[in-house]
């Protein structure tokens, strides 16, 4: 199972020809208590770097960007009723959306788990 990270703290976990997208544990910690998540509609086509979702803490709203290009094939509508799941389990139940990749080579430009760990250390 491959997980890749962006400098903006999104992760994408590859499952077949699709990837599960969410925000990293570091990101949820920086945001604080998540109180609202706005998800894209299923079927939406995203280009890498597009604004894909919005996550709001008590203090502020932040954009979640598409780590790769593709089509949104599923969203985690559980987050609408319990946005705090993003804090409790960001890598698991707190996922945002599933994207079917249109260009797998885009993954090469993202960070591995290890590289992301180093990146987080360098900014905190």
């Amino acid at each position: 199972m491959t997980t890749r990270y962006t400098k903006d703290h999104e992760y994408i976990r590859i499952e077949g020809d699709a990837g599960i997208v969410g925000i990293s544990d570091y990101a949820q910690g920086q945001l604080g208590d998540v109180v609202f998540v706005e998800l894209p509609s299923v079927g939406k086509t995203l280009s890498k770097g597009d604004e894909a979702a919005v996550v709001e803490s008590v203090k502020a709203a932040s954009e979640v960007y598409a780590p790769v290009s593709g089509e949104v094939v599923e969203v985690n509508s559980e987050l609408e009723a319990s946005p705090g799941t993003v804090n409790e389990d960001p890598a698991g139940r707190g996922w945002f959306m599933k994207i079917r990749l249109t260009n797998e080579s885009e993954l090469d430009g993202l960070m591995t788990e290890e590289q992301y760990g180093e990146f987080v250390k360098s900014i905190s």
Binding site: G32, F36, V55, V58, K59, A61
Partner: protein, 380 residues
């Protein structure tokens, strides 16, 4: 996700800075100070703790000052030339909320004004102003004082706020009878053996106290208060969500020089004598707005869904006519939903009026709502 901007400006520290760090606070720049935005518990927990128990806030960044003159009436008249509240008739110990006004009746800052209680303090009036405005306020006041009245900056003092239903019990357990005060009254009390100037007031909508103490005693007082199991430290994040639910204005956001006290719904802070006599900056405009009503007013707004509308969101009617702007908005943990306030045209300001808030380009249905969103629980 976007990173917050970082500033390299050197930041000031309150006398409690090391205490915040020891409590594990996340520190952020605020009004030139390095301040705790939250502790490890997080904003939601801190907010709810304050409503249910007692929250301890460091508000030492705020400006504490005193005006001194030969007697109360002389000092009070000097201050009344700058603000629209009745200060001459303040009783010893009484505190009032007011605003420093410019010549057009715009709000330069909001402040708390207190008449002290002891004979030695006769002729003094205590002020607490916003951190971000204190230099401008002091210069403004200084330049307008008559001969014989002086401004003394209280740089050597810290200010703590203890807010929530358990606050009075906490102070009683620490040997103080500050619980004898009623809302917006003040006096000198010993708390944990430390001499403090205490007022029964705050910025959360809860019963509570603001406690001024010598900077050198601040850490000892902070620790004594935190030793009570009912007390937890609360950061600026929850301070903002608490005051928003309480419908209280934040300077620079809900009020500024473009807003008058009448537009802001603060007419209650202008006592009858001042409404009639005037004699404060911008009196002509303010008296006219009292008589005829203001063209736009600050209202509470309740978005209908779960999405918060933040400061700057445009307000329209359901058919798309632009009628105002959100000045504070976010998630209200006690309300368990989004809450906001903002300015709208008078014709759409009645409670229950349907509005749209433009959030990320999309109209979000909302209604004008009565404030406060969470009921005030003051001990009058």
């Amino acid at each position: 996700m976007a990173e917050p901007a970082r500033s390299d400006e050197p930041l000031l520290k309150t006398p409690l800075h090391a205490e915040h760090v020891a409590c594990g606070a996340r520190m952020v720049p605020f009004a030139g100070y390095d301040m705790p935005v939250q502790y490890p518990a997080g904003i939601l927990t801190e907010h709810n703790w304050t409503r249910e128990h007692a929250g301890l806030f460091d508000v030492s960044h705020m400006g504490q000052a005193a005006l001194g003159g030969p007697d109360h009436e002389t000092t009070a008249r000097a201050l009344e030339a700058l603000i629209p509240a009745d200060i001459v008739n303040l009783k010893p110990g009484q505190q009032r909320y007011s605003q420093l006004l410019d010549e057009n009746g715009g709000i330069l800052d909001d402040l708390m004004v207190t008449r002290p209680t002891t004979d030695e303090e006769e002729g003094y009036i205590y002020l607490v102003v916003n951190a971000s405005m204190k230099e401008a306020d002091y210069a403004h006041i200084q330049a307008r004082l008559p001969h014989g009245v002086t401004l003394v900056r209280g740089e050597d003092r810290a200010l703590l706020a203890l807010q929530g239903p358990a606050a009075e019990g906490v102070l009683t357990r620490l040997g103080s009878n500050a619980a004898s005060l009623s809302f917006m009254m003040s006096g000198w009390f010993e708390i944990a053996g430390l001499r403090c100037h205490v007022s029964r007031s705050g910025y959360t909508g809860e019963d509570g106290f603001e406690i001024s103490v010598k900077a050198d005693d601040a850490a000892a007082l902070w620790r004594a208060l935190l030793a009570d199991p009912e007390v937890k430290p609360i950061g600026l994040g929850a301070r903002d969500s608490l005051r928003l639910e309480a419908g209280l204005c934040l300077y620079g956001h809900d009020i500024d020089t473009t807003t008058s006290p009448i537009e802001a719904g603060l007419i209650w802070s202008i006592q009858k004598r001042r409404r009639e006599e005037g004699g404060f900056p911008g009196a002509e405009r303010i008296q006219r707005e009292i008589k005829d009503g203001a063209a736009r007013v600050r209202v509470g707004i309740k978005p209908e869904g779960r999405a918060p509308a933040r400061e700057g969101s445009v307000i329209t009617t359901p058919d798309g006519r632009e009628v105002g702007i959100v000045t504070s908005g976010g998630f209200g943990p006690t309300v368990n939903g989004p809450v906001a306030m903002g300015y709208v045209s008078k014709d759409v300001s009645a409670v229950g009026t349907d509005l749209h808030l433009i959030v990320r380009g999309k109209p979000l249905p909302a209604k004008v709502a009565a404030m406060p969103f969470a009921p005030h629980r003051y001990k009058r």
